[in-house]
Symmetry: C2
Subunit: 376 residues, 2 copies
């Protein structure tokens, strides 16, 4: 008899136009002075101005969220939050602003530094109520809109997750129309992030049948629609399906992820090169699927069946083929990762919170071998 | 582009032995003086004494929950709750005690009568915070352990649902070992309740892909394991699968149910005969599947495929066959429903909250025809 803690999610308002609920949601949360947290790319599209205009109240702004958020930046935003007497947060953007906003909300009501709240330090129990966050994803991939965790590169250089139900956004406005202007490269990379979340959660050995059903369906959905979202960026139906797949992948986090994320998080913590999380996941996924197959044959079979792969094709090869079709890189070397980086990366990977839920036990030598295989 | 409000569930602690967490969960909720709400059948098994002994504090008891809970009984239990200065509720039993406990929790912090909080009266918005409820299901079927609603027969004789996220149990301890002693007849009837929840939620036209994935998997799970749970009552694995199917069905409620429930609720509100909800659902399901097929062909096809029905077999016929195998009745007449009851039953069915989410519009004449078809 298996046991499980099942706890699914916050409220999601899904659909084209969902962002227009912002003023009503802030009012419902009692937020009168929100801090809009976003990044320069979102500002450049005009989306930050549009969202600020939908808030129905005066909005403070922190619009310098780094591509891989750092604790130093979180502390800056926290200072602004306190100085401007804000009482809630609008998180607008991809996974970085969403994760970042959770950390700012945490430190709005808790003392720094962040390290004491990190999951790997047993910090979950030290996280109490925070200020309300309304999340507005601008990509379809992160899953952070329904996740309890935020990943931040801490002062010591490690990328760590802070997680608690108190960090769940109060509500997420998931508006696929916001992703219509996302460039093909980012659509591909974030879409593969959603797909990877579904696959890794499905392969996690933790017992959670409702989540298994959600992520298996989410993997199928991303597999069916990602090509179309990349090739026909203005196709709202495809954008909606990918945003739903992102939500489904995010609902999978509670089962834990696996080696793809354990290997990917340290890459995201590098100062140089600055790497995109979804892109790293896409590159790493085929090798990890081959590595995991001996320990997860039945589940990989089920995935191959759900995705309706032609007979004789394997998921790892088909993912590599899809990456190539979508213009994603095939190796970490292409991304600027060098052999000398592997040893410290492997050290970090072993400390990652996704390590224990990989279906095949992941030793340090495995991490080194996987990074090496992915380098050329 | 479809839109949806997605909001899944409370926390569930699932597994054999989960009930032993009771004292810790009450303490975590700050409950020092719980009212244990249960029914005479549960008392007779000794389970009420066992659970009271696991509470880790002095427990008040209301153990007279009627088979189809009435507002009069809720008011009695409320008085006891207030008189004994209780600060939380342990709900132990099948759907009746669980629904009943939600209504008592509601009236612990809100003024009677219940009618003003009924969903069909727009009462959802009038429901604010209540006292904590720890739910402990003793059957695998109701879904109330993860549902936001409680069904009570009100003073006017109508069976109405009160629903709000404030009525979700704070935590549900879903312990399949508690169902090992459930008699075959109740195992069958409650199991068909879980199956019906999954089927009706799947056929509801509301857009909610994560819930669709959960209930399709739940339907398959119940279909695979119910026979074994009935025939080998001591099989803990089968009991666990059925309890999981019950949870999955309960997660489906947010999509809305359909005609089976619209027709079944008025039957449960009859003073005589006193009818079992799951049994009524099982009897009604085949006729409603035939009625719905023209409006829901693709979804019924998907169900037939998920359940791996042999080619040429239809879901409605297979459900009827399963009912017969499990010793469940084939008609409402066998249960004591008489022709003269049909007109008022149809009136009530048209007012039921499940009516609008049936995939085929349900008119009064349809309700009359379905009741008539089910009578012989």
């Amino acid at each position: 008899m298996e046991t499980a803690t099942l706890q699914l999610m916050n409220r999601v308002e899904f659909g084209a136009g969902a962002v227009e609920r912002l003023a009503a949601e802030l009012a419902d949360a009692g937020v009168r002075r929100p801090l809009l947290v976003t990044d320069p790319g979102i500002v450049a599209t005009g989306m930050a101005d549009r969202v600020a205009g939908l808030a129905g109240c005066a909005v403070a702004r922190y619009d310098r969220v780094p591509a891989n958020p750092t604790e130093a930046a979180v502390l800056q935003a926290r200072e602004q939050f306190l100085d401007e007497r804000c009482d809630g947060i609008i998180a607008l953007g991809g996974g970085s602003p969403l994760d970042f906003a959770k950390a700012v909300a945490l430190l709005a009501t808790h003392a720094p530094p962040l390290a004491q709240y990190a999951m790997v330090q047993g910090g979950m129990g030290r996280i109490g109520p925070t200020v309300p966050v309304v999340a507005i994803p601008s990509t379809a991939g992160t899953g952070s809109e329904v996740g309890r965790g935020g990943l931040i590169t801490l002062q010591d250089g490690g990328k760590r997750v802070m997680a608690s139900t108190h960090l769940l956004p109060r509500v997420s406005l998931c508006d696929p129309a916001l992703t219509l202007s996302l460039p093909a490269g980012l659509t591909a990379a974030t879409g593969m992030d959603a797909f990877t979340h579904c696959v890794e959660a499905y392969l996690s050995p933790r017992f959670n049948p409702p989540v298994d059903a959600i992520v298996l369906d989410g993997a199928r959905r991303a597999w069916r629609w990602l090509r179309r979202a990349v090739r026909q960026p203005g196709d709202l139906a495809a954008r909606g399906e990918m945003m739903m797949a992102s939500i489904q992948g995010g609902l999978g986090f509670q089962k834990g992820l696996g080696a793809v994320h354990a290997l990917s998080h340290p890459l995201g913590a590098l100062q140089a090169p600055s790497l995109h999380h979804g892109t790293c996941n896409a590159v790493i996924l085929p090798a990890v699927l081959r590595f995991n197959r001996p320990a997860a044959q039945a589940r990989i079979d089920a995935l191959e069946q759900a995705l309706e792969l032609p007979a004789g094709r394997t998921l790892d090869a088909e993912v590599a083929r899809l990456n190539a079709e979508l213009g994603l890189p095939a190796s970490l070397g292409e991304l600027g990762v060098a052999p000398a980086m592997i040893d410290p990366l492997a050290d970090q990977a072993m400390q990652d919170h996704s390590c224990p839920t990989n279906p095949r036990p992941l030793r340090r030598a495995d991490c080194v071998a996987l990074y090496q295989e992915l380098l050329p």
